[in-house]
């Protein structure tokens, strides 16, 4: 028997029934005490987390090099917001408004909905220089304009896919095909988690529609499913599926039942010797802890008024604003990767809600204040330096007005566009008050410092202390990584 095995056995012995019953089962009053004193080594507050089994897949792991950020908050605007109305200021495009797009622009290009010759469409917003850095931001983002000195704006993003689902997959999993691990899965796989009571990778949706890529956007693909994102629901149901006890079962009774289950499982272990049983015991403890910690962290009602005003939150609702505040709360609990999805950014102009001059403005109004508050709030708590905030969509939008199926559209809209779009990043060792990359005069394509989605992924991993070429998983005969066989860290934006 190795020391290791002996330890397991001794522990199992120590937890023998008599001992357990004497120490813990003092009727109901004793139950709570059992939980609090951590009578079992598996239920100690703060979690002894599996030291006993040595098999915890979430145990913190060393990075490849010193990290700048400890966690990521990724704000994905599903549908792909127009960069031309927000960040990429193109006065030249204004002058071309209403003119036919030159055939040379369209040649050899494929668009999702544009057919034939569309018309150019000027920016539908006013731009002004903001902050000390004087970065141009449109008047659709008045709040964000106040924090430009804390962010880097990348204007030369480009991608390979012009349909939502594959483009979202490419952005978040590095591949257009399904079945690959998402960024959050890779990062928790590479670094583990620093929280014993919450999943390491959590996902929040603003309500409305799911992102087009569905759950694949936070899937663990071919790495163990324990690393997949845990979707937290904010619509009144369980924040994590099945986290609530059944009606009539309170926390004490649940504790009592889990103790009985675990005690019998320990007996089972002493009989069979299967270490998987020890893992199960600790997972039941983790489940029990999550039942308390998840609702607690998800309950924003206790936040002070000034915070609610700052974010524009309304407790009890499902909204991007609430999710931004939740993101901060999860960040405080050291959740490693926090993924938010907003929806409705697909501004084709087929109806009012998708019109650049109507629905799109509404979307901006909804996200501007909370995303700004998130950055400010992290900063005032001294957390921005170690928290990397990323904001963006899966591609950009055309400088041409959409003419779906060659027909005139009732509202102003822009089609999907892969050649150029804008994202911004803040905190986590990224420069503030900085813009990176340039597009041509009409914002059609990047002409300087182009950044591909794989480069963005490499950069995010880099800030977390991970080398995107070394973070690999062996699958179907070869090593796979988030950045496929591409990706370069965008050194220019690093502080």
């Amino acid at each position: 028997m190795t020391i290791f095995e002996e330890l397991i056995y001794r522990n199992a012995e120590r937890q023998s029934r008599k001992h357990f019953i004497k120490q813990c089962s003092l009727g109901l009053g004793g139950l709570a005490m059992a939980a609090m004193t951590g009578c079992s080594p598996f239920s100690s507050p703060g979690g002894n987390r599996d030291a006993i089994t040595g098999r915890d897949p979430f145990a913190p792991k060393p990075p490849h090099f010193a990290p700048k950020a400890k966690r990521v908050i990724y704000l994905h605007m599903a549908g792909a917001p127009s960069q031309l109305e927000l960040f990429d200021y193109k006065p030249e495009l204004h002058k071309l408004h209403g003119q036919d797009a030159p055939p040379s622009l369209m040649e050899g290009k494929e668009f999702a909905f544009i057919r034939g010759i569309p018309k150019m469409m000027g920016p539908q917003a006013r731009f002004e220089p903001r902050g000390e850095s004087g970065i141009m931001v449109s008047d659709l983002l008045p709040h964000f304009s106040t924090i430009v000195d804390d962010v880097s704006i990348i204007k030369s993003m480009h991608t390979d896919e012009f349909n939502h689902a594959p483009a979202q997959l490419l952005t978040l999993t590095g591949h257009t095909q399904l079945g690959h691990p998402s960024m959050g899965s890779w990062i928790t796989y590479g670094l583990g988690s620093e929280n014993d009571n919450l999943p390491g990778f959590m996902v929040l949706l603003s309500g409305g529609q799911m992102p087009s890529a569905g759950k694949s956007a936070w899937s663990s693909g071919f790495i163990p499913s324990i690393y997949q994102g845990v979707q937290c629901r904010t619509d009144g149901g369980d924040p994590v599926l099945y986290a609530s006890n059944p009606d009539g079962v309170d926390r004490q009774l649940r504790r009592r039942a889990v103790d009985a289950i675990n005690e019998i499982n320990r007996k089972e272990f002493s009989e069979t010797g299967d270490p998987e049983i020890l893992t199960r015991i600790s997972q039941y403890e983790m489940a029990y802890r999550m039942q308390a910690s998840v609702p607690e962290v998800m309950d924003i009602s206790g936040e002070p008024d000034y915070i609610h005003e700052m974010y524009g939150t309304e407790p009890g609702k499902t909204s991007f604003a609430n999710n931004c505040l939740l993101a901060r709360r999860l960040a405080e609990k050291d959740v490693r990767f926090i993924q938010l999805f907003d929806w409705g950014w697909d501004s084709h102009g087929t109806d009012e809600s998708t019109a650049i001059d109507a629905g799109f403005r509404e979307k901006c109004r909804h996200v501007d204040q909370p995303m700004t508050a998130l950055v400010k709030d992290l900063k005032q708590r001294g957390m921005l330096e170690e928290t990397l905030v990323v904001w963006g969509g899966e591609f950009g939008r055309t400088p041409m007005q959409e003419n779906r199926d060659g027909q005139d559209m009732p509202y102003l809209g822009r089609d999907h566009h892969t050649e150029a779009y804008t994202i911004w990043m803040a905190g986590g060792g990224i420069k503030g008050g900085f813009t990176y990359g340039e597009t041509d005069e009409i914002g059609f394509a990047g002409i300087k410092d182009r950044v591909h989605v794989h480069d963005l992924q490499a950069t995010i991993l880099h800030q977390m202390g991970l080398d995107h070429e070394r973070l690999t998983h062996f699958h179907q005969g070869r090593d796979f990584r988030l950045t496929d066989v591409h990706g370069e860290v965008v050194k220019g934006i690093l502080a």
Partner: protein
């Protein structure tokens, strides 16, 4: 009283690290199973692993740095760019490879910028070259050789399997474990063969039968049970990526459950695996295929279909074909063919061209990523419809010369009604004027004065055009013209107002050979589309036009084309013919838009030759796969069965038998089983499974010792029986069975058992989860509606895949979310309450008896005193709680009965025990 947690933590971390190190040292596969120090160096065993680990990335299928590649021998022996030869057989001193591996200058030494190879590895390479640098073939490509089981001196061994395993154990000084107790054994084999635990009655019967052959009879009963087919169908559904939705963004529903039912029947009938294979890959190409054989081809219609607006249908048709290539090679050959999509395979002797030759087999089916999922086989159910179909068959048959020809012609017309192929889809049209291919659905929609072209239509023998359309008006006219929008009019169609889709049919003037056809649309003075057309199709009028009854038959024909009531449609494979066939090209760098040289169907040279008498299509490929010369098919399926039984395969990488996969732990056993499967069992899966579960190896107890655990943590040597967490489906089915809720209803469209509200917030989709009623709430898990982007949550949490792509092996996890499912999911609570009621029915007085009964119903064995005491104490404390909180009892069960609530909590605890969730 106890040592401090932190010191335990530190000690255990250190010992954990030590243990990992020890295990690692003990268990590199080559060492463990073959030993390194044999004199004859073997390429596959000794050399290929070194090459794959250190060299192949730069000198293989992807890159050939310095003009040197180690993938094929002819390349390896040739001079490289420097003019020197890396490998000179018989002469290590002259071999550049050895010189560079030993080079003192780190800037020159191979592998560049990596750790140098160990002395042992280099000397192995030297000895190999010295011995002539023989290029051994990879084990998996050499057909299995007949081998007799070793003779072992033991009464324990009762079958060939046992002799092979026992020898492996004895070689390492190990002994097998004793046989598991009978209850454990029956529970294990019941789960393995049927996916369900035995009922109490089945157990009783088994325990009371102490005559010889009792176990064997139980095995035969299980193999004959309908539940057997359900269980193995669900295994195959992971490989077939079966789902009830199409995947991608919209993930709309798909009707393909008839394929699932086909699978259940095929397993229950024990359809031989070779036939099972041929029908799924090419049932449509068999002579005069039955409906079942056509439905079997839905196997490859489980590919995803992209209905997202603005997507290119050809791009996603190509993606589906690629998925068929990958899946076929994975399922039957455990070969990662997809690695050769963009370049030669990195590790295995598969050239990029081979990938596209495989692709060519699948590139000529009629499916085209259209929203309808066409081609669909319509299965009529109504008596009138079936009679109508029969009438058409008879009508054609009696008017066609020659018996065979009459039958063929009749089948063609029946197929025209049931499949309506080959269609010309909306997105095949081009040269549009005042028209569009709708970006959301790829329909053709044209305004007044506009036109659309479809090129190179072979009209030989056609005198009618069918079209599926909808239109808001009766005033339009569509003309069919040849050559140009002003060309000769060969057909006219008066548009009729039609809200939903309808199939119309018009006469056209017969033409010879190929034509560019134009549809011209007319409706002067009215804006908007004249009509929207989903597809058109050319065919020949039914025979017998001169007969008075003809009009009636034609009417019946048209009626059936548009019949929808009680018609079940299933997507199937239909092979394109003649002018409709596509040529296949290599895609440069795997990019589907950049075509390279044209290729014909074929298989990689490293495998058995394609016999010349086989057709150059899917049927030929299927027959090649199940020919006895194929070195992989039998090994791969036998290994899959083995993996299901023992939790780990003889080849651990069930989906990769290539040189980068793991080596077989018992290579001779694998070959022996493969040959038995083909020759003795005639491809019978039941016989093969029977052989495995009858072995002494399988019947061993799963109890383990720390020593054994340390020596063989994954149980590859099989010195003990399997102990594995049940699969997602088994966990649900077991809970329903022990609580008495499980419905035994088989077949039919998928059901929607209870799930939390609000999970289906899909984009642009009207699909809703409507909880099934009655017994459909309690069906076996395999009947659960499987939506790819949002599969049933409690199944997913226990590692069921989304079924977007073929999955060979589920990763077995152990997570807190699983605990939350079995503790709190209302489905499991309902099961617990029903178990509680059953417990109480056993004995209304004695709590001890009730708890004992509950444990027995769940675990099928008696609880020992410790377990019983612990459960009784849980009962007592819970009872106290509910006595003090009566409203809580009611909240839990809906009844004021505190006893019931208490028993429910206890039953829920029982159903959360590790032993309940585990097959042991």
């Amino acid at each position: 009283m106890k040592s401090s947690p932190s010191s335990i933590k530190i000690v255990s971390i250190i010992t954990g690290v030590l243990l990992v190190a020890v295990v690692y040292l003990l268990f590199t596969p080559q060492e463990r199973f073959f030993g390194f120090h044999e004199t004859e160096v073997d390429f596959s065993r000794d050399i290929k692993p070194i090459i794959n680990d250190n060299c192949i990335v730069c000198h293989g299928g992807v890159k050939q740095m310095s003009g040197f590649s180690l993938l094929f021998p002819e390349e390896a022996y040739s001079p490289n760019e420097s003019g020197k030869r890396a490998i000179v057989p018989g002469n290590p001193e002259e071999s550049e490879m050895i010189r560079l591996l030993r080079h003192h200058d780190p800037e020159v030494r191979m592998p560049l910028e990596e750790e140098p190879l160990s002395d042992e590895e280099i000397s192995l390479l030297e000895r190999w070259i010295e011995q002539g640098a023989e290029w051994g073939e990879h084990w998996a490509y050499i057909p299995p050789e007949p081998v007799d089981p070793p003779e072992t001196n033991s009464e324990w061994a009762s079958s060939g399997i046992d002799h092979f395993i026992l020898q492996g154990l004895q070689d390492r000084g190990l002994e097998p474990s004793p046989e598991a107790d009978r209850t454990t054994l029956l529970r294990r084999v019941s789960f393995d063969l049927t996916g369900l635990p035995p009922t109490m009655e089945e157990l009783e019967e088994f325990l009371q039968d102490d005559s010889p052959g009792a176990y064997e009879r139980a095995v035969d009963r299980l193999l004959g049970s309908p539940a057997y087919g359900e269980h193995w169908a669900s295994m195959w559904m992971d490989l077939a990526r079966y789902a009830d939705s199409k995947g991608y963004e919209k993930d709309a529903g798909r009707n393909i459950w008839q394929y699932r039912d086909w699978l259940i029947r095929a397993f229950n009938e024990d359809k031989p695996f070779n036939q099972f294979t041929v029908e799924q890959l090419a049932g449509d190409l068999l002579p005069d295929p039955s409906d079942d054989q056509i439905i079997a081809t839905a196997f490859h219609r489980n590919t995803m279909n992209n209905d997202e607006g603005g997507t290119n249908d050809e791009e996603f048709r190509v993606a589906a074909v690629m998925d068929r290539v990958r899946t076929t090679w994975n399922v039957w050959q455990a070969t990662t063919m997809e690695c050769a999509q963009c370049h030669n395979h990195t590790y295995d002797p598969i050239r990029m061209e081979d990938y596209y030759r495989s692709y060519a087999y699948f590139n000529n089916t009629a499916d085209a990523d259209v929203p309808s999922d066409d081609p669909n086989l319509k299965s009529f159910r109504r008596e009138a419809d079936l009679e109508g179909l029969e009438r058409i068959r008879e009508w054609v048959e009696s008017r066609t010369e020659g018996e065979e020809e009459a039958s063929r012609q009749a089948s063609e017309y029946v197929d025209l009604v049931r499949l309506s192929e080959p269609k010309l889809h909306g997105h095949y049209f081009d040269d549009l004027e005042r028209g569009t291919i709708t970006s959301t659905n790829s329909y053709l929609a044209v305004e007044d004065g506009g036109h659309a072209r479809i090129r190179d239509v072979d009209l030989t023998g056609s005198d009618r055009m069918m079209l599926r359309f909808r239109s808001g008006r009766d005033s339009g006219l569509v003309e069919v013209r040849t050559g140009s929008p002003q060309g000769d009019v060969i057909g006219r169609w008066q548009v009729s107002a039609q809200q939903g889709w309808r199939i119309a049919s018009i006469p056209i003037e017969p033409q010879e050979r190929l034509h560019d056809l134009y549809l011209t649309f007319h409706d002067p003075g009215r804006d908007g589309y004249v009509a929207t057309i989903m597809w058109i199709l050319f065919y020949e009028e039914l025979p017998g036009e001169e007969r008075p009854e003809f009009a009636e038959v034609r009417q019946e024909f048209d009626r059936l084309l548009n019949a929808t009531e009680e018609v079940v449609e299933t997507p199937v494979m239909v092979e394109l013919e003649g002018n409709f066939r596509r040529s296949t090209h290599v895609f440069e760098r795997g990019n589907w838009m950049v075509h390279g040289e044209e290729v014909t169907p074929g298989v990689p040279a490293a495998l058995n030759e394609m016999p010349e008498d086989l057709p150059e299509n899917r049927l030929g490929l299927a027959r090649w796969l199940v020919s006895e010369e194929n070195p992989l098919t039998a090994r791969v399926i036998v290994n899959r069965l083995w993996t299901r039984m023992f939790g780990i395969g003889i080849v651990e990488t069930v989906s990769d038998f290539g040189s980068n996969g793991s080596l077989p732990s018992h290579p001779e056993l694998l070959d022996w089983l493969a040959l038995q499967f083909m020759n003795e069992h005639d491809w019978s899966l039941k016989q093969q499974l029977r052989q495995i579960v009858m072995s002494s190896v399988y019947r061993q107890s799963s109890k383990t010792s720390p020593e054994l655990l340390e020596l063989d943590p994954n149980n590859r040597l099989l010195a003990r029986g399997p102990r594995i967490r049940l699969e997602a489906e088994q966990i649900r089915d077991q809970a329903l069975r022990v609580s008495g809720l499980l419905s035994e209803k088989m077949y039919g469209s998928s059901v929607m058992p209870e799930q939390p509200e609000g999970l289906w917030q899909q984009v642009y989709s009207g699909m809703r989860w409507v909880t099934s009623e009655g017994e459909d709430r309690y069906r076996r898990a395999l009947y659960t509606f499987w939506r790819r982007t949002n599969p049933y949550p409690s199944l997913v949490m226990f590692d069921a895949p989304s079924r977007e792509v073929c999955v060979s092996l589920r990763i077995n996890t152990n997570t807190p979310l699983q605990a939350l499912v079995t503790l709190n999911d209302p489905v499991y609570l309902e099961a617990a309450q029903h178990l509680a009621e059953r417990m109480r029915n056993v004995d209304t007085e004695s709590v001890e008896a009730q708890i004992g009964a509950g444990y027995r119903m769940a675990m099928l064995r008696e609880a020992d005193a410790v377990r019983l005491t612990l459960l009784e104490e849980l009962y007592d404390d819970t009872r106290l709680y509910f006595e003090e909180n009566r409203e809580a009892a009611e909240a839990l069960t809906g009844s004021e009965d505190t006893e019931l609530a208490t028993l429910t909590v206890v039953a829920n605890a029982i159903m959360n025990l590790d032993e309940f969730l585990t097959k042991s």
